[in-house]
Symmetry: C2
């Protein structure tokens, strides 16, 4: 059924309507230069023949593609929120998005490679582990904006959340509730964990609580949180800030199994506002990243670079926001 039949092209429509190909092109684009009557007739014929423009041919001819490549990881729920924001932002400035996913068996290089062949005008990379040198190599070809990670290279733009500030917001919230013995569960070597840890330190010092500083090894997974909870058994603090939500969930689980009441005996703050942290059953107080702001800024950085505007600020840092739910309460 779909075997031999070529798709209808401008030429088909032109022949049927008895006009030139160029004129049909004009009509289809809504460009000026066609009479009202002809325009009407051409559109009718196009509809009747089921004409669909071929974006490849279109873009091939007109140098610009107005196409932005996005690399995201299917495993990271936050990336999906970000995609939503990015589609919105792209629509506003008249760009299209093409997506390329990273999966457990499809790495970033493959994903980026695919987008380069699609002749995107810029790349937006969510997180990822590509080395600065590799990124620079890509950035020599076309503008690259990375999100949710830091990159020290003048050709690579960065849009990220102020993790340093986020940790401080968590601590401030706990201190306001009367907590003093506040521990922090670390993220290990993962991107962002150093900043979150430093923010914790900073806030504790600011509140004159340096003597109560306590940092436990953790990680990005539930099991890391569970291990940290076990380590807390001797003399638990009254509150904990945790590297991320998943880790916080593992911690919470062990605490509750140990018979502790949350937030009665101990308060917990996560980080990321992952979708599951909203579940009534988990109901985790956490630090949320401002998705729309991040998407908007990433997009405008990309467009500025494409259009050759001077780069005023290579690194954009967005303040996060505390979301208070049920895992924090008075000391």
């Amino acid at each position: 059924m779909h075997a031999g039949d070529r798709r209808t092209t401008l030429a088909d429509v032109a022949a049927e309507a008895g006009v030139s190909v160029a004129l049909v092109s004009i009509v289809m684009r809504g460009a000026p230069g066609a009479g009202a009557a002809t325009r009407e007739r051409v559109l009718e014929v196009a509809r009747r023949l089921g004409y669909q423009p071929d974006s490849r041919a279109r873009l091939l001819r007109s140098g610009r593609t107005r196409l932005l490549g996005v690399v995201f990881d299917v495993r990271h729920p936050f990336h999906h929120d970000l995609l939503t924001g990015l589609y919105d932002a792209a629509g506003r400035v008249g760009y299209e998005l093409t997506l390329s996913a990273v999966t457990p068996r499809r790495d970033e290089h493959t994903a980026v490679e695919g987008l380069l062949q699609d002749r995107c005008e810029a790349l937006v990379l969510f997180g990822g582990r590509m080395r600065t040198a590799e990124l620079a190599g890509v950035a020599a070809r076309l503008p690259v904006v990375t999100m949710m990670r830091g990159v020290r290279h003048r050709d690579v733009d960065v849009v990220r959340t102020d993790d340093h500030l986020g940790s401080q917001q968590a601590v401030d919230h706990l201190v306001a509730l009367g907590h003093r013995r506040i521990a922090h569960v670390d993220g290990g070597g993962i991107h962002g964990s150093a900043e979150r840890r430093l923010g914790y330190h900073e806030a504790m010092r600011r509140h004159g609580l340096s003597e109560h500083v306590r940092v436990l090894p953790g990680g990005a997974g539930e099991e890391d949180g569970a291990r940290a909870a076990a380590a807390l058994r001797d003399g638990p603090p009254t509150a904990v800030t945790v590297f991320n939500d998943l880790c916080a969930t593992g911690l919470l689980d062990v605490l509750r199994r140990d018979g502790l009441d949350v937030p009665g005996d101990i308060s917990v703050v996560g980080y990321d506002d992952s979708s599951f942290s909203r579940l009534a059953h988990i109901d985790l107080t956490t630090i949320a990243q401002d998705v729309d702001a991040m998407a908007g800024r990433a997009l405008s950085r990309a467009v500025e670079r494409i259009e050759g505007a001077p780069v005023t600020q290579r690194e954009v840092v967005i303040p996060p926001r505390l979301v208070v739910r049920g895992t924090t309460g008075p000391a």
Copy 2:
């Protein structure tokens, strides 16, 4: 920096290497018809000039695109698992994937439209609410495979899980544990809920438990599950099968707050094996869909249609699998 400089093309490489454009094309494709020495030299030049093939031009010329369009919803975690499987399957048969996302502010029509312009050879649609008539309209243009929903139209292929069987597996599991008073929380009008409800009925009858059949109104969300739990307060059954995991989570939460022990007092089975159901804190027994099988079958259906193979089986139904975790136990 990225302003005036055209990207390097085959012609540039050809000129620099002192050969014809056609030969460079041959070398870049790894096609036979070039001497070893020249091949080497051309590759070197291409690398030096940073040549990147232009997939648009390439595909434009060679009628085939070997491109499959995929429409997924950013909000649905299960779609991401499926994407992973689909990338794998596509890689195996030499097809590329282009993704188009549905977001809260970007609907299915927009997503499909974009893919049509990219000249995909077939479309794979995850779930979605498009009406059969609309789907048929698209399917008249190119092969369409829908997943995780039923469509009664001879041009639209379907790959889905056997929800009828899944519900029965849940009931069988509970009966094997000694449960007899087993209730079902319904999904309301959502796709798939009728089948899951019927499977429950069927299994209860098969086990001679028709007198204990009890169906409660529910839905897809946590709050629906919470409401169902409240409705159970007078004379709770010893076990419940629930429309999906999110709903089950809401139910669980209320049950536990009511002081019931799960699975001591009551067992709960969810449906979908959503990522959060694996969290230690939730640890939900559930019915999992076979992602790899679904992806594989969807892909082979698409390819068969593209290549004009006779359609032997329009609807592929994959059996689901029970995943036993911590929310079920002996009666």
